[in-house]
Symmetry: C2
DNA sequence: TTAGTTAAGTGACATATAGTCACTAATTAG
DNA sequence: CTAATTAGTGACTATATGTCACTTAACTAA
């Protein structure tokens, strides 16, 4: 399974026979994820109750160790861990940052590679409601709860990153169902940014960026029904504000 | 040195007596840095010739293992490694991303936390000229050289991130001397972005953002002398384009 | 059927930012 | 003193965003 990417010289093989992973004094490495969703007009995050020491019984972010024999890379590790808790793969995962210090874990020097992910609430609601050690928590509530390790800090940083994205991209849309309305998306952005936005400006920017496809369907609750949109597939970047290149 | 941040329960101590860092099968962890500078109208990066296996003799990025007994956190690790090669601390360091897979290092599953840093060429020119295993290499040249491990990929990603920053911030200015002229900064941004910029637009944006201080000094070579500026201290963000918050 | 309510979506003008380029300013070389 | 060179500005144009009243399309209750 562990195949060297670069062909080793014979001198290198002599070296490798002696030194392998596990022989080096290296920090403990974990991968964690902040999985966001938007539900009941609130930003929510997935929390998991720890089954093992340290911090047994406390709530924290979903994550875990790299499965050395199974995971091809870090992305695979985070996808496997999220799949284990939600039963599905989130449509958007991106690496946030790594946190490492001598004191963040009582076992000693440790590093976590933290990811940020987004998913529709309904996509995994049943799976999550059926177990007691995994649940959606409103972000504002999670931010003031005592969490395992430095997971509070990871939440703060993930939230700030997502807030930044709301200023110039439609990435937050992955926290909504496949088909969603522009007023829905605007509400999400307003919650993230923390202030109301101009309907006209918001729509104009998104329409001009051509990142969404109008499905033709409508959905209404009370007043005029809104058009349902979906993300345009194969879109590398999700920017809706002009940058200085164009 | 390794003091738990959170006070452990007695049950936890029983656990910790048994399990410590080193007992877990965990990937090899290293920290690498892409140190940029701007010199001779070129973007350059610091490369180091590897003294040990694997990839002994090949050129790669400065970096190394976490010193478990010495480094308080990952930032300390990267600063120590850069200090060892340049003799000084770069004025700007930020984390870029982490790269981990089963195959990027012949020793097995490994992860590197990659940083991006900027420094003035003159700040460490003597130190670097005095040794043969460390040198500045023009980025375009480094990008087509065979480098150790996946360091080529790290270079590509670091360059792209710095290019993005050039579009909306003056962070690249840390690759210049303490005092620099606006035409100098503009040239750097033009090299990064890959196209010429409008002098007036560039100046206007930077002046309006009030991120630079005019030192009153002048420097000229041929024509009218240009004003020398320095970075305004205590500036958290270095954005010079309006964002949608303001 | 119709008037009132609600929420979606648009028209049109005001304001702010960026692009363009000719012009002025300050220095050196000869 | 004049030409060459590079720094820096004035003033207009083009484009993007802010604002808000207005129209549209649904529902509900007389």
């Amino acid at each position: 399974m562990t195949k060297p990417r670069v062909r080793a010289t014979s001198e290198e093989w002599d070296y490798l026979r002696e030194y392998r992973v596990g022989d080096y004094p290296t920090p403990l490495l974990t991968v964690d994820a902040v999985l966001f969703t938007f539900h009941d007009n609130q930003l929510q995050v997935l929390l998991v109750q720890r089954a093992n020491h340290p911090a047994k019984g406390q709530w924290g972010l979903p994550g875990g160790f790299v499965a050395l024999e199974q995971d091809a890379d870090l992305d695979a590790t985070v996808r496997r861990n999220l799949m284990a808790k939600t039963g599905v793969e989130p449509p958007h995962i991106e690496q946030l940052a790594s946190y490492g210090s001598a004191h963040r874990d009582p076992r000693g020097w440790s590093v976590t590679v933290c990811y940020s992910a987004l998913i529709a609430h309904q996509a995994c609601a049943q799976q999550i409601d059926s177990v007691s050690d995994v649940r959606w928590v409103p972000l504002d509530e999670a931010l003031v709860s005592p969490l395992a390790f430095d997971h509070q800090q990871l939440l703060v940083d993930a939230r700030e990153r997502l807030r930044q994205k709301a200023l110039y991209s439609i990435v937050p849309a992955y926290a909504l169902p496949d088909r969603f309305t522009l007023p829905q998306l605007q509400q999400l952005h307003e919650v993230l940014i923390g202030k109301t936005l101009q309907k006209k400006s918001f729509r104009r920017r998104i329409e001009q960026a051509e990142l969404l496809i109008d499905t033709g369907e409508k959905r209404g609750e009370g007043g005029r029904p809104a058009s349902l949109y979906r993300m345009r597939p194969n879109t590398a970047d999700h920017f809706f504000v002009r940058n200085l290149e164009s």
